[in-house]
Structures are given as structure tokens and as C-alpha cells.
Amino acid sequence: MKTSTEDGAPRDGAPWVKSERQLERERRRRRAGVRSASLATVSSLLFVAVVAGVVVSSPGWPRVHDTFFDWGEFTGALPDVLRGFWLNVQIFLIAEPLILLLGLLVALARGLRNPLFFPLRALAIAYTDVFRGIPTILLVYLVGFGLPALQLQGVPDSPAVLGGFALVLSYGAYVAEVFRAGIDSVHPSQRAAARSLGLSRAQALRFVVLPQAVRRVVPPLLNDFASLQKDTALVAVLGPLEALRQAQIHSAETFDYTPYLAAAVLFVALTVPLARFTDHLAARAERRRAPGGGT
């Protein structure tokens, strides 16, 4: 028995049910969804099969297989590489908070308007210009070999610490720019409104502008964080035994490149979840900005 009119408007007193047309619509959507998912699967499988086929049938494959995908070599090198990787993890876990702090301070220094603070502002601008311009590996070299050569009291001589310091200097400049972009993206009316409510400049910055700015730049900050995780491998040039260096040592002992693959797998295992998390945050922010988006 039909309980609704053709266009789905409920009759008087009858409970609302979906119209035939709506049900048909939903069926069609489901069918289209299933169809596109299966097409995507088939196409991916076909693509992987073709690429794998081309690679494995190439004349050099047995040799590449021996040199890059040697399972025994992989398992042999993994414990050492993993131990080295722990050092990479320590470096970026300690460096990241320092980077965020330095970046924020530099961004705030660039935002100072009082002419008295001009030297500070100039210093912040010079810092970002210089340290964003130097290739990170050069900076690691300069800090790692230059600071100890000064023979100053109290300079740490641990290469991991020096390398971490170089990374902080380099990434601090990038992150400062990210924060500054976030602060600049907050609409001036927010600041004006805060000031008109009687908040001082500092209070407006602290309670109104910064919270919004930081929330906006979380995805690019996470992006920089992923980049930092990979760049900890650059500290290898100073001599600590981190993942890349351990891989290199194993590779030179047996003339086989598989240990590098072990190091690559570890780095990927770390950065991929972070990348997905960044995507999730970005999508959430998008939803919130959409009309009717909650918080």
C-alpha cells in the first residue's frame, strides 16, 4: 500500500517513509559506488601486475634481486639499523619542541611593530633568510665541525647533539614562516574586536589571534615534522651511528645495497601514518569551515 504521494510528501497522518523515487536513487548510488570501487581495484591490480611483470622479466632482475632484495642481508642488517633508527627518533623528538618554540618566537619577533624593537625584528628577518637559504646538509657540516673547532668551554661534543642543533636552526626558520603565515591569515577584524573589548595588544595576540593562527597551520607544521624525521639522516655525516650510517656500514661490508632498503622501510613506516593523520586533520578543518560545520 502506498503511504506517500508520488513526490514523497507524506499524506495527512501517515508516517513518513522514503518514496520509491528516493529508494531508486539510493540503489543507483550504491550500484555506482560498487562499480567504481571494483573498477579501481581491477585497474590497480592490472597496473601492479604489469609493472611487476616488466621489472621481474628484465634481464638485470636476478642481479638486482641479489643486490637490493636479499632477505638474509635484510634480516642481518635490521637489528643494527633499527638500533641506529632509535637515535633518529630521539633526535627528532627532542628537536621538534625546540623547533616549534624557536619558530614561534621568531614569528612573533617579526610581528613587532614598535620601532624600539627594530633590531630584534631585523635579526628575525635575517635569521629566516639565511637559514632557509642554506642547504641543511651544509648547515649540519658547519655546526658539527665548526662549533667544536672553536674549542669553547661548554660546547657539546656529541655529534648527535650538534646535528640536532643544526636541524633546529634550519627547521626553526621554516616553521617561523609557517607561524607567520598563520598569524597573518587571521582577519584584522578579530584583532580589532578584541581590542575594542578592552584587551591589550599582547592579550589580543595571546587569546584571540594565536589560538586561531596555530590551529590553521597544524597541517603544514605536521608536514615540516615529517620532513624533519627524514632529515635526521643528514646527521650521519657527523659520525653518530644512526640508521643510514648503519645501513652504509653493512652495505660496504658485503657490497650489497639491501641494508639501505631496511633503513628506507623504517623511515616510511614512521612517516606514512603521520601523513595520513595530516590528511585527516586537513579534512576535518575543511568540514568545519563548510556551511553548517560544527567545531
Binding site: 585497474s43 592490472l46 597496473f47 604489469v50 609493472v51 611483470g53 616488466v54 622479466s57 628484465s58 634481464p59 638485470g60 642481479r63 638486482v64 641479489d66 643486490t67 665541525f145 667544536p148 673547532a149 674549542q151 661534543d157 655529534p159 650521519a236 655525516v237 657527523l238 659520525g239 653518530p240 651511528l241 650510517r245 652504509q248 656500514i249 652495505s251 660496504a252 661490508e253 658485503t254 657490497f255 650489497d256 645495497y257
Partner: protein, 284 residues
């Protein structure tokens, strides 16, 4: 078949074609040369011996970062081997090959690589080595005013922080023989390791003996050699020429090296370019 999937299929077909089309011809594994006469050899460049080494090329193995001047032990040995095989000096072409990629699989752009490469059984699975042309020992270098300067046993070095260059057998020697409490620091280049000692970032530097003599003589003022490490488990360690795996040229190189050994020429070159081992005591 609807028109919509045409581009997709075309793409796939192109991929398959590309994959099969750019597969190179199977290179037939070269036969052993009929003789070691210059004409019979299957060389990188016909009529020329193409020799690779790293850049910078270090003293005392090479001189002035120029392998083609015949100065320095490995340069001299290369020209001696070439001469033995019937190549004139101008028929030896040098090319740069970083150590890390010298053992990459696939065709090489050199006939052989001469770069203080120690022969080990593990390495010999991946490449082909010639017979050894130099028997090498590892030596420990420190600054003259260091607490380790007077050490006579390996046990006395256990607490030191040690620098080595990555990819060298020096590292293995340190791990197996000194087995220090602190992990050795491993540097990209020999220069970095030497500088680490210079800056007092480490207590000791472990390098092969001729390099150790060069470091103390020319690179760090007041550095001294503490002593030589004994050979690992009694095996001698030697440098060999590195070739692409299975390159039949190795038999001719070995012939030449054998001739240089028996004529005493190799020893003469060693005496000429590498300092005598008299003043580096063996550590116990």
C-alpha cells in the same frame, strides 16, 4: 567496450610495450680472452685500459689528487700493471668512481677500480677481485699529548672514542679487536675523520698504516702512531683491484700482478711510495 576506457587501455598497452621494448639485449657473459694480448681483451674502450678511482684521491696512494701522473703507490702500480699488459702510458684512461657505487650491480664504466679496496669473502660474492697487490695493516693514530699516546696494548684503548671512515675495514678491525666501550664514530670521508681527531672530538683515529704515516707526517702536527693492530684471526688483509662480477679480464690482471710480484717490482714501488713499517709497533 565503451569509448571511455580506450585511453586507459592505450596507456596500459603502451606501458607493456615500453617495458618490453626498453629491455636491453642480454649481454652475453664474456668469454675468457683468447690471450692476454691487447687486441684480444674485451675492454670498456677498445685499445684503452679504463681505470677508476675515487675523488679526492688521497696521499700516499695518489699524489696531488691526480691519478694520471704516475705518482703515489696505487697510481704507480696501475701503470706498472698496464705496462705489463702491453699498454702505453697514454693508453690508460682514468675515470672517477665513488666507492659507494663502485659495487653497484650492472655494467661498469671502467675495466677495473683501484681505490684501497680490501678483499673480503663477503665482498667477493658481489664483485670480482684481482689478486692482492698490497698487504695492509690497520694503525691507530692519536695526538701527541693524548693519554693514549703511550699505549702498548689494545686493552688500554678500550675507553677511547675512536673515529673511522665509513665503509672501511678499519671499522671492522676496531669492533673486533679493540671492542671499545663507546661506539666508534663513523665519518663520510677520511678528511672528516682526520678533522675529528684534530678538533679533539675523538681520542683515536684508525686508518690503514700508510695513511696513518701520511696523517702524522703531513696532516696533523704532533700526531703520532700508537701502533698497528694485529691481523684479524690471523688472516692477512690485502687490497685488490675491483672488477664487474665475472669479468674475464681478471685472469690477465692477475697474470700481470703475479709477474710484478715475482720480479720484485711491487716491493720496489712499495718501498718507494709507502713509508717503512719499522716505527709502528704491533699492539698486543
Amino acid at each position: 567496450m565503451s569509448r571511455r576506457y580506450l585511453p586507459l587501455l592505450t596507456g596500459l598497452a603502451a606501458l607493456v610495450l615500453a617495458g618490453t621494448a626498453c629491455a636491453p639485449e642480454e649481454t652475453s657473459t664474456a668469454e675468457a680472452p683468447a690471450s692476454c694480448a691487447k687486441e684480444d681483451l674485451n675492454l670498456e674502450t677498445a685499445g684503452k685500459l679504463t681505470v677508476a678511482t675515487d675523488k679526492p684521491a688521497f696521499e700516499p696512494w695518489f699524489s696531488g689528487d691526480d691519478p694520471s701522473n704516475g705518482k703515489g703507490f696505487e697510481s704507480a702500480v696501475t701503470y706498472a700493471v698496464a705496462e705489463e699488459m702491453g699498454f702505453a702510458e697514454n693508453e690508460v684512461a682514468w675515470t672517477v668512481q665513488p666507492f659507494d657505487s663502485a659495487y653497484a650491480p650492472g655494467p661498469k664504466k671502467f675495466d677495473f677500480d683501484v681505490n684501497q679496496i680490501s678483499v673480503t669473502p663477503e665482498r667477493a660474492k658481489a664483485v670480482t677481485f684481482s689478486d692482492g697487490y698490497y698487504t695492509v695493516r690497520q694503525a691507530v693514530v692519536t695526538l701527541g699529548d693524548s693519554e693514549y699516546a703511550g699505549a702498548t696494548t689494545m686493552a688500554a684503548l678500550k675507553d677511547a672514542s675512536i673515529a673511522v671512515q665509513v665503509g672501511t675495514t678499519s671499522l671492522q678491525a676496531v669492533k673486533e679487536q679493540i671492542d671499545p666501550g663507546e661506539q666508534p664514530k663513523v665519518f663520510n670521508t677520511q678528511i672528516d675523520a682526520v678533522n675529528a681527531l684534530k678538533n679533539e672530538q675523538v681520542d683515536l683515529l684508525v686508518v690503514d698504516l700508510p695513511t696513518a704515516f701520511y696523517v702524522t707526517a703531513a696532516q696533523i702536527d704532533g700526531a703520532k702512531i700508537v701502533g698497528q693492530l694485529p691481523h684479524r684471526n690471523g688472516d692477512t688483509e690485502h687490497f685488490g683491484l675491483l672488477l664487474e662480477r665475472g669479468n674475464p679480464l681478471v685472469s690477465c690482471l692477475n697474470e700481470a700482478i703475479g709477474a710484478l710480484k715475482s720480479s720484485g717490482e711491487l716491493q720496489r714501488l712499495e718501498d718507494k711510495w709507502l713509508a717503512a713499517e719499522g716505527d709502528a709497533p704491533l699492539l698486543k
